[in-house]
């Protein structure tokens, strides 16, 4: 509902739906649980131009903004397609911002190579990745768990903290000395996550202002939010169809308030989350300083929306919803893992509070500061 998209955005969505429809991604998600290889979506993403969405036209990218990336990823989430875009898009956003080497960006834009983001900020509880400067290089040490899309990635963008506590970023080939990537088993088998160990890894420093190095991690959270909105919406659609078709005690079960109100609650949560995803998409281009708040808030509300919709979809379906063969179980697996990735939804909530309290603190120091929040 509440659509306010440009024609180009609408076209992007429809093209994504068409592209994804060529794969049976749900059956792929199920068979992957039994060890079968999932559908090879990376090539599809490359052909559709998604791999280069955030890379400039100077390097064969589409030169689009986060909003378009979020719209594509929402469609992927709807059918549980994982094209390894969450790591790649977050990493390429930082490379683009740093104006990194055009050859590298070109290879990433066309999908010839695949990138992932290694940022301990994605898991606030981990010890931060340590960074020190050595000539023109940054040297990184540390260990980060459950990094999205990192197994088999070709290029790593690493974010760490230097001795002064400032955030710095670097880029390095994934097979460079000192990098060990171990794949983790994932509850949602569409996912590719791994633990990264960095031992004196020398990387090319990226020229990004300190207050913008977290944009990659925040973008990854916004992408997770968009994906969750898509998945939650698919849950609502599954539930809606079943509630109309299934009869119990002489009536369609959707005529009972218990079911009907539950579905409306799904809709309410999805609409709230979607509003924040849209808002995050817009701030990326229009007001980057506000992006962190928007992205983390989107992450919180979207994770809660999917967290509600996925298990309730099982319950609406009664016993059949809890069977292996039913798609509801796949969305449930998606929900349970997704809310814990990139540091988890709780860390995103803490990040929202941190932005707001830091701003309040500044206001008490300089009472004349006008806050974006004073509106409303």
């Amino acid at each position: 509902m509440y659509l306010a998209l440009t024609d180009e955005q609408q076209f992007l969505i429809e093209a994504a739906q068409g592209t994804l429809a060529r794969h049976d991604t749900l059956e792929g998600a199920r068979s992957a649980l039994d060890g079968a290889p999932g559908p090879a979506l990376w090539q599809t993403a490359a052909e559709a131009g998604w791999t280069g969405l955030l890379i400039g036209e100077d390097a064969d990218g589409a030169g689009l903004g986060a909003y378009e990336a979020l719209l594509v990823v929402e469609q992927c989430g709807r059918v549980l397609a994982d094209a390894r875009l969450l790591g790649h898009l977050a990493a390429t956003a930082l490379l683009e911002q740093a104006g990194a080497d055009a050859t590298l960006r070109g290879a990433l834009a066309t999908g010839e190579r695949r990138a992932a983001l290694v940022d301990a900020a994605a898991g606030e509880r981990s010890a931060p990745v340590q960074a020190r400067r050595a000539g023109t290089q940054m040297v990184f040490d540390g260990r980060v768990r459950s990094v999205l899309d990192v197994p088999d990635a070709d290029v790593l963008v690493i974010v760490g903290r230097d001795a002064d506590g400032a955030c710095v970023a670097g880029v390095v080939d994934a097979d460079a000395d000192g990098i060990t990537v171990t794949a983790e088993r994932a509850y949602d088998a569409t996912r590719l996550v791994g633990t990264v160990r960095l031992e004196s890894v020398g990387a090319t420093a990226l020229a990004i202002p300190a207050d913008r190095t977290r944009d990659g991690a925040d973008l990854q959270r916004a992408l997770l939010a968009a994906e969750s909105v898509g998945a939650a919406d698919a849950c609502l659609e599954l539930s809606r169809s079943y509630a109309i078709d299934r009869f119990a005690f002489g009536r369609a079960i959707g005529s009972y308030q218990a079911i009907k109100h539950k579905l409306v609650e799904m809709l309410r949560r999805i609409e709230g989350a979607r509003s924040l995803v849209v808002h995050a998409g817009r701030t990326w281009d229009d007001d980057r300083a506000a992006f962190a708040l928007a992205a983390n808030a989107a992450r919180v509300v979207a994770a809660d929306a999917l967290d509600y919709c996925a298990p309730e979809t099982i319950f609406v379906h009664g016993g059949v919803g809890a069977t292996w063969e039913h798609d509801a179980s796949l969305y449930y697996r998606r929900a349970e893992l997704a809310r814990r990735l990139a540091g988890g939804a709780t860390v995103a909530a803490a990040a929202v509070a941190a932005v707001l309290l830091d701003e309040a603190h500044l206001r008490t120091q300089r009472p004349d500061t006008v806050s974006a929040l004073s509106v409303g």
Binding site: Y2, L267, L293, N296, A298, A349, V352, L356
Partner: protein
Amino acid sequence: MSSSGPENLDAFRAQLRDWLDANAEHAPRRQVLAPQDDAAVGRWRGWQARLADAGYAGITWPGAYGGSDGTPAQRVAVEQELTARGLSGVFDFIGIEMVGPTILVHGTEEQRDRYVHPLLRGDETWCQLLSEPGAGSDLAAVQSRARLQDDGSWVVNGQKVWTSFAQHAAFGILLARTDTEVAKHKGLSMFVVPMDAEGVTIRPLRQITGDAEFNEVFLDDVRLARDSIIGAPGEGWRVALTMLGFERVGVGSGLHATPLDRLVAAVHASEDRDDAGVRVRLGQVASELLALRHTSERVVEEIAEGHVPGPEAGLIKITSVTASLAACRLAVDVAGPEALVDDEWGHQVSALPGVRSAGGTEEILRNLIGERVLGLPPEPRVPTKAA
């Protein structure tokens, strides 16, 4: 003001800002709930007249009746600029959002001439006489009777509840039963009632806050003139649906929720500022309030582009109440129980539960959205009988 387009809107907004710079001193500050004292009400009505005279009330209404022939986008711009400055809009939102548009649609030319312009300026404010003790959300069950007299006038008897601002209103818009022989919703008609007519008694109904935001209104042999009916006899249900449709469009509630900056300031000022659990809770509540704000903005954009939002816009009310209550409760938790008796948070803690049922219970709203938006089948009908 009749042409639209972004350039025109920018010019409109610039002019509006100049006007506000010059006139804001007359505006009451925006408050969560309207104050009940007469001086404050008088000042607020004066501000409405000033807005109307400058063309900033009834923006989309026809110029012939005092409106500005403007666009929905301009209406939204006024709302945004007022909100940004923390200023109130019109006092009589029932008149402006619901009664005025309804009279414009269903009223006679004489009724439009008589009622619309004084309504717009706040010279005559309005209240709704719809709900009854036995018919809250279920308006078709209204029992108040209007009996046609030989001279074409009507005599009304009945009792209404949940009437906001009845004590200030010049007129009420009344739903009454004019025919008991037909199916429930077919026997209703809509009337204009002068609130000073003989037989009208207003009894304030105190809310949990202690304020009397609502009233009960008793109608004892109230005589109404022949031309006080709006629409034809028996068309009351259709007129009421039109009016409730306008209520839904009067979104706003999402923009009027608990201000996030005040919640953040409350946590910042407390001992719990660095408590990990409190910070996560703040982040969750703040995210909900932000979702609410941006959902409201999305709906406002829709309206600005000329679309009429679907019933799902009603979900904003649910989120508004739940998120605002969560915000108030967090603020009280960090400030300590004494904050329950202060004006900042305690008043809202008392007021919000009543807001949730205002304009129909949440259950009714969820039924409506489940059936109209999600296409779910209705409950089985229970045979209805006329009262």
